[in-house]
Amino acid sequence: MTDGVLALELQLDDAQASFEPGARLTGVASWQGGRPPTGMALELSWAASGWGGRDLKIVDTVPLASPLPAERRPFIIALPEGPFTFEGALIALAWKLELVALPGYEKASVALTIGPGRRAVDLRR
C-alpha cells in the first residue's frame, strides 16, 4: 500500500465495454493506498453533449458498503434499455461507469457503449 494517493481501478469482465441495451454489466472495482475511504460507490451515467451544452443524468448509483482500505469488489449492474450511445450532427451521447471514493471524490471511470449490436448509432449516415 502507498501513502497519499488512493488508487482506484475499474475492470470489466472480458475487457468488454460494449453492450446490448438491457444487458448485465459485470466487473471488479478495486482500490488501495492513501486514506482509507469512508464510502465507495459505482455511478452509471450518460451525457448528451451538443452544440449548446451538456445534459448529464446519473442513471444508477450502487453503494459499495463498508469499504476496507484495500479491496477488490465484484459488481453486477443491470443496464437500462436506453438511451443508446449515438453520434449525430448536433448531439453525441456517451455512457460511463465511475467508481467514486469518499470523502475526496477520487474517481476511476470507463466509457461504455450501449446500443443494438453493441454499437453506437451513427445518425450522420
Partner: protein, 135 residues
C-alpha cells in the same frame, strides 16, 4: 390519439399512437379539411436531433435552437381539389437501427408525424404531431 390543428383555413387531423417502439410499424390516419386551393398533402415520419443554446444578457435569456433531421420516412402523399376534404392512411416502420426519443434540457431527440399541405407554388401548412419513441 387524435390531434387537430388548423392554420390558414386548412385544418389537419392526425390519428396515430402517441407512443411507439423502435422497429414497430406506425399506422397513421390523416384528414385535411378546408384546404384553400388545390393541394398536395405529404405525411411523413421524421426523427430529428434538436440542440439548444441559452444566451444570457441584461435584457433576459434567449434560447437558440438548431435542428437536424436524421430520418424522414414517407407515410402517404395525395393530391386533393380546392375546398375538398382529403384523407388517407399510411404506415411506416420506425427504423430499428436508429435512436429512441431523448428529452434533455439542452439536447433532444424528437420523433413526429409531419403533415405538409402545399399548393403547386408554396407551403400552406406544415404541422408536427409528436410521438414518443421508446427502445
Amino acid at each position: 390519439m387524435l390531434r387537430v390543428l388548423g392554420f390558414g383555413g386548412a385544418r389537419v387531423r392526425v390519428t396515430a399512437p402517441s407512443v411507439a417502439r423502435l422497429g414497430e410499424t406506425l399506422e397513421v390516419a390523416w384528414r385535411v379539411e378546408r384546404a384553400p386551393e388545390a393541394t398536395i398533402v405529404t405525411v411523413s415520419l421524421v426523427g430529428a436531433e434538436v440542440a439548444s443554446r441559452r444566451y444570457s444578457a441584461r435584457t433576459g435569456i434567449s434560447v437558440v435552437t438548431e435542428r437536424n433531421n436524421f430520418a424522414v420516412r414517407p407515410i402517404d402523399r395525395r393530391v386533393c381539389a380546392r375546398g375538398a376534404e382529403a384523407h388517407g392512411r399510411g404506415a411506416t416502420e420506425i427504423p430499428a437501427d436508429l435512436v429512441p426519443s431523448l428529452a434533455g434540457k439542452l439536447n433532444q431527440v424528437v420523433w413526429a408525424v409531419t403533415v405538409d399541405v402545399s399548393s403547386a407554388t408554396e407551403m400552406i401548412v406544415r404541422e408536427e404531431f409528436p410521438i414518443t419513441v421508446r427502445p
